[in-house]
């Protein structure tokens, strides 16, 4: 809420009507930022990213230049988020909601048009001219209320737009990690496929010279066929996740050839310890703030309803009646509804109910926020532990198993096909490690989102990412 408007609203109630109407007329104009400042500020403070509202060609140029510059090098996750915030057309569409909201607010702040009445009455020879200037005083009196409603809606729009922005940033972050991991997975899948291909080729040659029978050959062929299927699936997953990122970044044409790095960022050495996370979330979360604001505002509108329940139809007019036979009559004319049948109690009850509803909503939002942030932090911690376990335990273990298998191959204790099977399994282990690292980054993105808004928790995905146990590739000699 910008201060001049607020001051205006206060003035409207306290000052004489004309002054008030002048003052009202004076502040019913568009702000220079169109309500965008708040959004921009949040993007800066919470994400450290720039946002530009492409309202002018100049702004669009700024966006295009910046995006082109970011796309020249392999994207980091921050780059991807930045591109999405600048270039996502859906977000730009959201920004225009600000414009719509502000227009409605301005509309609501405009003075009602005054009315003029002019009458010419003739009684015999007497001609009476009746001129009246009247203003819908009720509407004028109710203007602060209407303005507040519109302001609240505008604030809500700003809140929604800001949340959309944060959510887009989070989605872009997650899409980025998914895309990078999927490309890495394709590389490892390709290696698995190569191993299987080598096995199948060797088996074919074994069968050719009579060392393998059809069954043995077909088994190896089967591994290859499975690996090819896995490869095709991985390639599709990589394509789909890349396209999702492309959409979020709003790219098309040659821009879609953006480069991603070969590897996910390393796992941080230690997870962030956040004992005060619930408090932080309650202080920072926009949905919590929004709910609080809504409750406050309904409280205000409740107060207003109480004070204005009798003064709901009030007409003020200046009368100016002139007659050719009498001096001109001037004076004020005030019309007032008599509260005989409707004392406004129903409206007050409604407003109270609305207020209580807002309070409950705010409480629910706070409870959910606490729980969501706890869940997000738990997922983040587990994801870190799991990723570290993969990195420090499972992968080295599989590596050592692979080394031991080579030694056993050297001693002719196992054959080349067992060696290849072990290699496939080791690669699968590396892949599971990549997936665990991806899951960590996803969980971190969720946690960051949970601290500022309602997260789209992807926690269930953690349970997936199955991988065979480390010891299963032991070969019988």
């Amino acid at each position: 809420m910008t201060t001049p408007r607020h001051a205006c609203a206060a003035a409207a109630r306290g000052l004489p009507l004309v002054l008030a109407s002048l003052a009202l007329a004076g502040c019913a104009s568009f702000s220079p930022d169109g309500g965008f400042d708040t959004v921009e500020q949040v993007a800066q403070e919470r994400l450290g990213k720039d946002v530009v509202w492409a309202r002018t060609a100049e702004n669009q140029n700024r966006i295009d230049t910046r995006v082109a510059e970011l796309l020249t090098r392999p994207l980091t996750v921050d780059d991807a988020v930045q591109v999405a915030l600048l270039n996502n057309k859906g977000l730009q569409a959201r920004f225009f909601e600000l414009g719509i909201g502000e227009a409605e607010l301005v509309q609501a702040s405009r003075l009602p048009n005054p009315g003029i009445s002019f009458g010419r009455l003739k009684r015999g020879d007497e001609i009476e001219l009746e001129r009246g200037y009247h203003l819908n005083l009720a509407r004028l009196l109710a203007m602060p209320l209407v303005r507040q409603v519109e302001e609240r809606r505008f604030a809500q729009t700003r809140g929604v737009v800001t949340l959309q922005l944060l959510s887009l940033a989070s989605e872009a972050r997650k899409a980025y990690f998914n895309a990078v991991a999927a490309e890495e997975t394709v590389r490892y899948r390709r290696q698995v496929q190569q191993a299987a291909e080598a096995g199948a080729e060797l088996a074919r040659r074994m069968a050719e010279v009579g060392n393998f029978n059809k069954l043995q050959r077909l088994r190896e062929q089967g591994f290859y066929a499975d690996a090819t299927l896995g490869m095709a699936r991985a390639e599709h997953a990589a394509l789909a996740s890349r396209e999702r990122l492309t959409r979020l970044m709003g790219l098309w044409g040659p821009q879609t050839r953006f480069q991603l790095p070969e590897r996910l960022p390393d796992l941080p050495e230690a997870p962030t310890d956040q004992p005060e996370i619930e408090r932080a979330a309650l202080a920072q979360r926009l949905d919590v703030q929004g709910a609080k604001l809504a409750a406050e505002q309904t409280a205000k509108s409740l107060g207003l309803t109480r004070t204005t329940r009798f003064v709901n139809v009030l007409e003020l007019g200046r009368a100016h009646n002139s007659s050719n036979e009498a001096p001109t009559q001037t004076g004020w004319e005030l019309g007032l509804e008599l509260p005989l049948f409707d004392w406004g109690g129903a409206r007050v009850a409604r407003a109270e109910a609305v207020y209580m509803q807002a309070l409950s909503r705010a409480a629910e939002t706070a409870v959910n926020a606490r729980s969501e942030v706890r869940e997000a932090y738990g997922a983040y911690r587990s994801a870190w532990d799991i990723a570290r376990h993969h990195r420090d335990e499972l992968v080295p273990l599989r590596q050592r198993i692979a080394e031991e298998n080579v030694l056993r191959y050297n001693g002719m204790l196992i054959g080349v096909f067992e060696l290849l099977a072990a290699a496939r399994s080791q690669i699968a282990g590396v892949n599971a490690c990549i997936e665990s690292l991806r899951d960590f980054w996803l969980a971190q993105a969720d946690l960051e989102m949970a601290l500022i808004g309602k997260p789209g928790l992807s926690g269930a995905a953690l349970a997936l990412g199955s991988s065979p146990a480390a010891g299963d590739v032991g070969a019988d000699h």
């Binding site: 080729e201 001693g411 002719m412 054959g415 290849l420 070969a475």
Partner: protein
């Protein structure tokens, strides 16, 4: 070498679950001191200083247990205990044995000797000793539960009997027998004849060894005791070639070799360059009229064979089990045959994934012996042993009989490789080769083929190609 260290003093070094304190000091004081052997080498024969004289045997990679005389009784002390046996250089097995080694020491007595054997059990479970092939009082036969209570851990039992007939015998547990034999509990027993025996010749060299088998996963130390037939280590006296000592003799020595089989399969034992006769079994010396000459004798499970020959051909003669898998060390029995498989291009694919991969078996398995490659810990290559002309490509139940003109009597030392007289070694033919004539119609007269395969199958001989591009 042989150490006579105190039983109690040694106890700390023993890895058994049984503590030394379990054996009473007072009880031990009356016993012959247990003697322990730490070396797996072949020990010189133990020439008797007391008691009736005899011509001692040489235990291949083993030793003979010293005794003490006590009022005319020969007293031995066997200690059943966990041991670490070096089965070949670089490969040690965690076995159970007697007096520091597996197999246990050879016991040598003379026909008519009264023998008292103290058996102290330092294993984690009960045991007994069965004196395989001996005539003895039933209660001395050592079958746990049947003829005696088992010897509990920490306890010492006494066996006493007269060695009634001369011959070749064994001893081994008859309590939890499957496990204890799979763990290496066994030993030799020789009863020498009291006087000149018409069926037992005097010999210059008398070697003894037991055939035994273990299943130890490469890189592991303890045998898998549940294995029944698919063993991966076929050993003589718990040694595998190239860890087995050679049998070194003087030319024209009369040589006797006594072989006992405590594995779970038979072993056709084969000697090169000589014919031998089987002169004795578990039952004693064979009648002269039953002896015939051969170069391979099958030693069935639980049997003894005593073979004799005159070593009259100089040289280094292979001596081995003729089951060729038994002359290999640990190998994968499920490894596919790669002979004749062209590895081109495939190799580069595999090495991308397994950088240390090398093609093996494409031309056979001799590569294995030629290229030393890193193996799992505590493993001997499946075939190895360097001879004067290259790798011997053997393992397991294989050794060499070395016959030398200048080997001194009583000298069991290794004389080195044989120096072949000129013109007595196979050589490469460098002259022209005529194309051999081949019969294209086999079975023409005897059994003409009626149903020929629809398509003529011709077996192509694939010539080994040592210079193929790999």
């Amino acid at each position: 070498m042989v150490s006579r260290r105190n039983f109690l003093g040694r106890a700390g070094a023993v890895t058994a679950a049984v503590s030394a304190a379990a054996v009473s000091k007072v009880a031990m004081a009356a016993l012959p001191e247990p003697v322990t052997q730490h070396s797996p080498d072949t020990m010189p024969p133990l020439v008797p200083e007391r008691g009736r004289p005899y011509n001692p045997v040489v235990t291949l990679n083993g030793w003979t247990l010293p005794w003490r005389m006590n009022n005319g009784v020969k007293e031995f002390h066997l200690v059943a205990e966990p041991v670490v046996r070096e089965m070949a250089p670089g490969f040690k097995a965690h076995l159970w044995g007697y007096n520091g080694q597996s197999p246990g020491p050879t016991i040598e007595v003379v026909e008519g000797d009264r023998v008292r054997v103290f058996v102290t059990n330092k294993l984690p479970e009960h045991t007994t000793v069965h004196w395989h092939g001996q005539r003895l009082p039933n209660g001395m036969d050592g079958v746990g539960g049947l003829t005696q209570p088992a010897i509990q851990p920490g306890k010492t039992f006494v066996y006493e009997f007269v060695a009634r007939r001369p011959g070749t015998f064994m001893y081994h547990p008859h309590a939890d027998e499957m496990v204890q034999m799979a763990m290496g509990m066994m030993g030799f027993w020789i009863t020498h004849p009291k006087q000149k025996h018409p069926l037992i010749d005097e010999v210059d060299r008398d070697f003894v060894f037991l055939l035994n088998a273990y299943d130890i996963d490469p890189g592991a130390y303890t045998p898998k005791v549940m294995t029944m037939l698919d063993f991966n280590l076929w050993s003589w006296n718990s040694r595998v070639f190239p860890g087995i000592d050679t049998l070194n003799v003087r030319k024209n020595d009369k040589v006797r070799i006594r072989i006992g089989n405590l594995t779970m399969t038979n072993h056709p034992i084969h000697l090169h360059g000589h014919e031998f006769a089987v002169t004795g079994t578990d039952g004693g010396p064979t009648p002269k009229g039953t002896r015939w000459l051969e170069v391979t004798t099958d030693v069935a499970v639980g049997q003894m064979r005593q073979i004799e020959f005159r070593a009259d051909e100089e040289g280094d003669w292979a001596f081995h089990c003729h089951k060729s898998h038994h002359t290999m060390n640990a190998m994968g029995h499920g490894v596919p045959t790669m002979i004749g498989v062209d590895h081109r291009e495939v190799v580069s694919k595999i090495t991308q994934l397994v950088p240390d991969y090398m093609v093996m078996g494409e031309r056979g398995m001799a590569d294995m012996a030629e290229m030393p490659m890193p193996l799992p810990d505590n493993t001997v290559p499946m075939m190895s042993g360097a001879g004067p002309f290259g790798s011997v490509e053997m393992g397991g139940m294989f050794t060499v009989l070395k016959v030398r003109r200048d080997q001194k009597p009583g000298d069991y030392g290794d004389p080195g490789w044989f120096d072949h007289p000129a013109g007595t070694v196979a050589y490469e033919w460098t002259g022209a080769l005529a194309t051999p004539a081949r019969d294209r119609d086999p079975g023409r007269s005897a059994m003409p083929a009626r149903n020929r395969p629809a398509r003529e199958i011709e077996v192509q001989v694939r010539k080994p190609d040592r210079h193929g591009p790999h």
